[in-house]
Symmetry: C2
């Protein structure tokens, strides 16, 4: 078994190759051609931490993957990052462990950002006035990096709570070639942007329905566990098209779950990203539609990006 | 993160220390002081393989463990062992991965054998006429090694299907100081032995109730997944005391599940090993009782033995 570091993984992964792998993974998942056992979760209340274990095998693949993600939110006070993670890649032919990718959560960030890019490619309005980003963390950065590939728009408005974080994000986005506006008021984001990505661990709605203009696409990636929520359920209900990574998982948590449990939407309205990809259709049907992609994160993404990363490092 | 090989683990683990760790693990589990998420399972029918992922955290522990076990039964034809496995140990304070123990399944074998020893200590008859072993594989060997610590009996009768395997087991057991008889007839085992350990992956009963004498203790460890069965359900129903590692898990599979589903026993008859250990009582109440320990394997064992092994290697 080989051990690879985050630095090795970052240096080797080709996002364009990974993107195609992810698309195939979503398609296989929605076609029922993947084994995705139940997620394992731990809570460590004394350490303000949690861990989740997601595993997947896509039929016909040479490998399968077990991923561990941890979030220990008091770590920064100890000089450690809050998040860590690794992926184990095993042979689907012999069961042998092939590699441990100690990516420290980077591959999870990348597969989430690439899923956001896939959703935006299928759902963003034809003319993006500005990109809106809620959140200033790693995922807020990775999403912006990926969106550069699907739109020429180089205007971004970012919402955050901390001035220091907003200033750091501004510097980051300027370096990517964006004109950047920063705000503490999410309504301003909705007024300026019609391609909005929500990346926060919020537990209450940040983006209200009344602020959002027709023709806006919203990708929400923050609500990856029960209790988390970034969107007003009324906004979910108002969306003309609702794309989810997994109907089953988004019925349990994520933005869609809140609107489902309050009866504001019906499961029949949900379209899986893999189904949309397989159809070859564009997700947005006309310019005035409000579209939503609720991406809670599925293990087939981990299986695909880890196998892709391993292939790049052992080529 | 540190990587340890099977050789390093085998050289470092003290079974006596591990035994006490396991006892504490069973006690914590039965007291509801462990987080044990659902087992993740994969099937690879094209490769005649499977994989399961078991994880556990015992409250108050400094670490938690994620274990992968694989069984790919065509591997011997490729010059590879059928079974492989590893355990990941992470900090319960920071979430950081501390160590990968690539034990190739050895720690699982050891924790299973040590659980058999714990059960036999609590349940074996006062005078063991002979030890009976069903099966000739690794677990059949590890169980016999461990039973030497709880009885002076050095008579063993082993049942197997293959003459070559029986001959190899005989050589192994003789080297441990046993007088060894071998047989293809499990009834002979029941006639000779009153401490019987069943270690096979059988999918049909091998040991019939009518063969088993009063005063016999039986430990069954082979039925660790749905569909597997080594004991006649009538024998389970006849047992005066039924000890299980996990009531919940043994209600789903293992020997007890078959007798429960056919209505021959009731869940109320089941006593968890951790509950028995916590009570301080001896499991066997009189010499003529038939006792059964159905050990399907619980992730707290993996958590305890991996933390024990890691402590020994980093001391």
């Amino acid at each position: 078994m080989r051990l690879f570091s985050k630095a090795q993984i970052v240096a080797s992964l080709d996002p364009e190759v990974a993107l195609r792998c992810l698309e195939q993974g979503f398609i296989a998942f929605s076609a029922g051609k993947a084994q995705v056992p139940p997620v394992q979760g731990f809570a460590f209340p004394g350490a303000n931490g949690d861990c989740c274990i997601k595993s997947a095998y896509i039929e016909g693949s040479a490998t399968f993957t077990v991923k561990l993600s941890t979030g220990f939110y008091d770590n920064p006070g100890k000089g450690l990052p809050s998040n860590d993670g690794l992926m184990l890649v095993l042979s689907a032919h012999t069961g042998q462990p092939l590699a441990l990718l100690h990516d420290e959560g980077w591959l999870t960030g990348m597969r989430t950002a690439l899923a956001g890019r896939i959703a935006a490619r299928l759902l963003a309005p034809p003319r993006v006035s500005a990109i809106g980003i809620l959140g200033t963390g790693m995922q807020a950065r990775m999403q912006l990096e990926q969106l550069g590939a699907i739109t020429d728009c180089r205007q971004v408005m970012v919402w955050g709570r901390q001035d220091s974080e907003l200033a750091a994000y501004r510097a980051f986005a300027r370096a990517l070639g964006y004109e950047v506006r920063i705000t503490h008021d999410a309504a301003e984001v909705a007024a300026a942007a019609n391609l909005i990505v929500c990346t926060t661990p919020s537990r209450q709605p940040l983006l209200l329905s009344e602020w959002v203009r027709p023709g806006t696409h919203i990708t929400a990636v923050g609500a990856d566990a029960p209790g988390k929520q970034e969107l007003d359920p009324a906004l979910v209900a108002r969306a003309d098209r609702i794309i989810v990574d997994s109907v089953a998982q988004c019925s349990q948590y994520g933005e869609v779950a809140h609107a489902l449990s309050s009866g504001q939407i019906d499961t029949k309205q949900l379209i899986e990203l893999g189904t949309l990809l397989a159809s070859g259709a564009h997700g947005r049907e006309h310019a005035a539609q409000i579209t939503l992609a609720d991406l809670t994160g599925v293990a087939v993404q981990d299986a695909q990006i880890s196998s892709c990363a391993l292939a790049a490092m052992t080529a």
